[in-house]
């Protein structure tokens, strides 16, 4: 019997281990488009098995030291790109200060997959069905990319292109860190994902994050949508509609209508487009209500 028998086996490739980010960058620089980074592998390996991806070289960064961390310094939360979803799930800092991130990590795939799946991979893979992109869009995150020419910081709303599964990362760049502004006073956010079962992609998902000023008016609003378009969607009109006034039921419903209008779902096995658009509306209402509760000290 051959190894793997008649099951799905990836095409051939060369495997290389990078022990540092510099080594990974050098290997990418040398091999260009032929090479792909292997992070947690929980999306990439199934893709390779279906031969939907056929890189000739995989550069494994699981043995790079110093890319797994969650720390808040100088008003910024720094998450190392190789931080596992399970580490977000169990972090008291995340639970206490960034519950929207716990909402998100705890619904990524399933708990076994989360032991290896990484936050950086979830974002760099740029799958519109992945959960972190919407949350990062709501939070106004930035990502750090390291390449042969050095390091650059990219706002998340400039990171995803109009093409599905595409980012502005160059072939010789590695995503190394995610930076999220620490929550100002009177801030809160939430992520709601509607899924058929644990482990499935979202039928629809909505992340909402708000900050209130001392008068109780909304001074920041971020809304991101999961799996209702060909890319992660930032619902800009919905965000704008919330600014400069209190967050009440009327403004929540107006924003929810605008978020639904910003979605571009297609009909598939997870439901008809009309249903998904309506779920965006419903989930936006729920996410904004919970964001408000968290911003005002409730839960």
């Amino acid at each position: 019997m051959t190894v793997g028998g008649d099951t799905l086996i990836p095409g051939s490739f060369d495997y290389m281990v990078a022990h540092s980010v510099d080594e990974a960058v050098a290997l990418l620089d040398q091999h260009g488009d032929e090479a792909k980074i292997l992070a947690g592998g929980q999306s990439l390996i199934p893709l390779l098995r279906f031969r939907l991806a056929r890189p000739s070289i995989l550069i494994d960064i699981n043995r790079v030291d110093g890319l797994e961390y969650i720390q808040e310094t100088d008003g910024v939360l720094h998450i190392g790109a190789m931080t596992r979803e399970a580490d977000l799930d169990s972090s008291s800092l995340i639970r206490d200060r960034y519950p929207i991130l716990l909402d998100t990590s705890s619904v990524v795939a399933d708990p076994v997959v989360r032991n290896w799946a990484t936050v950086g991979g979830n974002i760099a893979h740029a799958d519109p069905a992945n959960d972190h992109p919407a949350t990062m869009l709501a939070l106004g995150a930035r990502v750090v990319a390291r390449g042969a020419e050095g390091e650059r910081v990219i706002p998340i709303d400039e990171f995803f292109t109009d093409m599905t599964f595409e980012t502005v990362l160059k072939p010789n760049e590695v995503l190394t860190e995610i930076r999220i502004p620490a929550p100002p006073e009177r801030s809160g956010g939430a992520y709601f994902k509607l899924e058929r079962k644990v482990g499935d992609y979202a039928i629809a998902g909505v992340a909402a994050y708000i900050t209130l000023d001392s008068n109780g008016n909304v001074s920041y609003a971020g809304i991101g949508l999961t799996n209702v378009g060909s890319t992660p969607i930032k619902a800009r009109d919905a965000e704008q509609s919330l600014l400069g006034k209190p967050l009440d039921e009327a403004s929540i419903h107006q924003a929810a209508d605008l978020a639904a209008a910003a979605s571009q779902p297609v009909s598939d096995t997870r439901g008809p487009a009309e249903y998904k658009r309506d779920m965006v509306r419903t989930l936006t209402v729920r996410a904004l209500r919970k964001a408000l509760a968290r911003a005002t000290g409730g839960e």
Binding site: F13, N115, V198
Partner: protein
């Protein structure tokens, strides 16, 4: 196509061999080492039948390459029984009738073990969350939850330390 020489410890025994880069860990374990207790269900990291512990972490062995396991400690379902004695989890699955066709059972027990190593006294809700990456099409899960609870009670009563692969826990 690169080939690599890897060394791992599986259930306390050292194994080494040459693997193609594309060889999945589950295929190496089953087809080369002939440890066939670990099952292959869906091939797409959805069902959890192939769950093993890698450095103490529950892992879907169909979503990891064998070469990635180089130098790591692995535990498979064959490592549960010790000196002819069933592990409390195995005894629990027997006592509570937690399997029908048995296909998901090795993965269920390894996810159960990872859960009990992290949380020796889980609630029903925590058990259900702990096995939510493992699919069973026969039982409706009720008896699987009871079996893991049985193991938790037995392990706590005897203050038996769960069998540990690697450093355990997270």
């Amino acid at each position: 196509m690169s080939t690599h020489h890897i060394r791992t410890t599986i259930n306390g025994t050292a194994y080494e061999g040459d693997v193609e880069a594309r060889t999945l860990l589950v295929h190496w374990i089953r087809d080369v080492l002939r440890l066939t207790g670990t099952h292959i269900g869906c091939d797409t990291s959805s069902c959890g039948a192939c769950t093993i512990l890698v450095d103490g972490k529950a892992t879907k062995s169909c979503a990891m390459f064998a070469v990635q396991a180089d130098g790591r400690e692995i535990m498979t379902v064959e490592g549960l029984e010790q000196n002819g004695n069933l592990h409390p989890l195995q005894e629990g699955f027997h006592q509570e009738h937690a399997l029908q066709c048995g296909y998901c059972t090795p993965g269920m027990m390894m996810s159960g073990l990872a859960l009990l190593q992290r949380n020796p006294n889980p609630t029903e809700q925590e058990i259900r969350a702990g096995i939510s990456g493992n699919l069973c099409r026969c039982t409706g899960y009720v008896n699987i939850v009871k079996a893991i609870r049985y193991a938790a009670d037995k392990m706590q009563a005897s203050e038996q330390v769960p069998v540990s692969a690697g450093e355990g826990g997270e």
